[in-house]
Symmetry: none
Subunit: 202 residues, 4 copies
DNA sequence: AATGAATGAGCCTTCATTCAT
DNA sequence: TATGAATGAAGGCTCATTCAT
């Protein structure tokens, strides 16, 4: 099935925004990458900035929705953090360009739009904050600065989008598991058994 | 003492490149921020891109030099990692804009220039790789994927530049110590005493 | 019939480049003369320099093609030279601006482009060199330095573009004939009859 | 003896204006070629345009003066034309850059300045016109259009500046003699003896 | 005599966008 | 749906020139 034109434009934008940055990408670049004229481009998008906002919004919506789905019914903070990390890492490894765009181009958006995007991001990060906070409250985690630890872990996981390659030696599952491991250690959950399991597996 | 003009231009560039991105910063923005005409700007820089490259180069040189100085004479991998993390965190908290520029704008540079910058970055990262590698080799660290762990920690520390504020509740020293803590836990160094020491101190 | 826009740009360029020189003509001058905005200009040309190269190329191509057509089947060197001179003079009198551009602005072109233009010019001048050379070889022409004579005649004829005006007393045909006369005398063809014929005719 | 600075500037200008054109030459180019800063340049010249005008004026003054000196006491039109041609050719071969500048950059000058330069040029050309005119009047020359012939010869001789190289096979004296020959033939002076002499001599 | 600093104006070119077809 | 044509604004950079030192 032929690719929907709107989708083609979207993908072109994702590719170029991630590679050259929003301001480094001209609409001529977008048009060329989409095999469209610059004029035609405007049948499939509002403006360059709206296109960017759409990409960010979708990326964050998907992340938020699947995170909420993943956590449904879970109470154990360690398990919640593990799931969050794995989901986050998988998302960033699979959609490195979209997530890099979210991370790098927020400053481009006009205030109103930016606020709506930041809201989504904050909602998502609250899931992390809650997991870490609950873990510390219940004594499962021992970390001196939960807030700092949360953001440190998030940044660590975001980084995956900047370097992970599917062609590397590490499978996506192993990567996600490894990161969950590192994260749980970082909060002081010291998951003896699983750590050893991971070690044995290699 | 009045600020050297060249330095004024540099600072304007650092501020704007970090805030709005390289491509998002116009030469006229730079001129205004430097209280200079656009023409005068060119007495103090080669081109916008060279200015960027200079900023990056200086930032990385400084980081690399101080890291090498910091590690001189040290052999214990845990201590080396701790020092690297603390230095890195401090540098990123103190010069968040410079380091963000290094992280975000590499793609702007022409191939030749980029290579020279990447070389510096790689030299610096090798210090981390060596510390982690030696730790694993000597059994002090237990981590399944040293390479991944190293980059995960680096990204985590880079993140500091994206959120740390001196006006926050955490002092720079505490922040650096905390990150070192998290990092050592992440590599499985489980530094009982120092971790407790750290906990007690807060 | 309305003038094609591309052609309007071309004519504006010819007029301005010839009058004020390539470097003396700004893109804004071109736009104004073409009744276009500077941005629109770029729908009809690659760059200012490409526009110049196109003008030169077309001018030389036309000259070369018509010269080759004119000489087809001719062997007599005197007749060939006469035809070349007349054609050249006519072309330079009719298209003085294009030919002046070719003569004056070669130095502007980038090496590669320049080479391609110079090649055309050389191909054309070879027709002159052959005519003069054959005339000397067969004894019809007596000139001590055929190469010098050829270039002297060419320069003399090029000059037409710098002064001829259709409003002058001399018709184009008479002008061309007169130049042919001067040229043949210069190579020592001393065409008694035709010279007298020419004299009688005026 | 060290070269006077003002003279160094002048020479740099001659070189660059001739090579790249007036508008193609920046004052930075001039400064570099003169081994001066752009600011220092202005101790030795009024403005770029005045520098150009000076060069042109001197070139034409010299030509005019030496032509008048050369013709002093001569009445024979053929001899006068021969001397003019030889002088002109020599001047253009020896100072090809100055003369090219005079020929190519008149259009740059502001009206007032231009007029003063054109006046000089016209005074010089009147010497040619007189020689040709007298020759025709006295029947020594036979040319249908004296005015056209005069300008044709002038352009032919101007051309020397565009191609003559001292490294070529032809000596400057031979070149000048050859041109005089061509010119006299062109006006129909048919100087049997001298032509043969020329031929024999080579 | 010499120049580093400074600049308003201008350079060529591309920007994102609109609109008639 | 698709696009050639069009553009005002802005892009990075250089222009010729002045002036204080």
């Amino acid at each position: 099935m032929a690719l929907d034109t709107r989708e083609r434009v979207r993908r072109a934008a994702v590719k170029l925004f991630a590679t050259k940055g929003f301001h480094g990408t001209g609409i001529r670049d977008l048009a060329q990458e989409s095999n469209l004229s610059t004029a035609s481009l405007y049948h499939y998008m509002g403006s360059k900035e709206e296109l960017l906002a759409d990409i960010m919004r979708d990326c964050l919506r998907t992340l938020l929705d699947s995170a909420e789905a993943e956590l449904t019914g879970l109470t154990d903070p360690a398990e919640r953090l593990r799931r969050l990390v794995k989901l986050h890492v998988r998302a960033h490894a699979r959609k490195p360009r979209e997530t890099r765009i979210v991370d790098h181009e927020l400053h481009v958006l006009a205030p109103t739009t930016r606020r709506s995007i930041v809201e989504l991001r904050d909602a998502y990060e609250r899931l992390w904050a809650d997991a870490v906070g609950d873990g510390v409250a219940s004594g499962v985690f021992t970390t001196a600065h939960p807030g700092v630890t949360r953001i440190a872990l998030l940044e660590m996981c975001n980084g995956v989008a900047r370097w992970y390659s599917a062609r590397g030696s590490l499978s996506l599952d192993d990567l996600a598991t490894h990161y969950a491991e590192v994260a749980l250690r970082a909060v002081g959950a010291c998951p003896q058994r699983s750590a050893e399991g991971q070690s044995r597996g290699e």
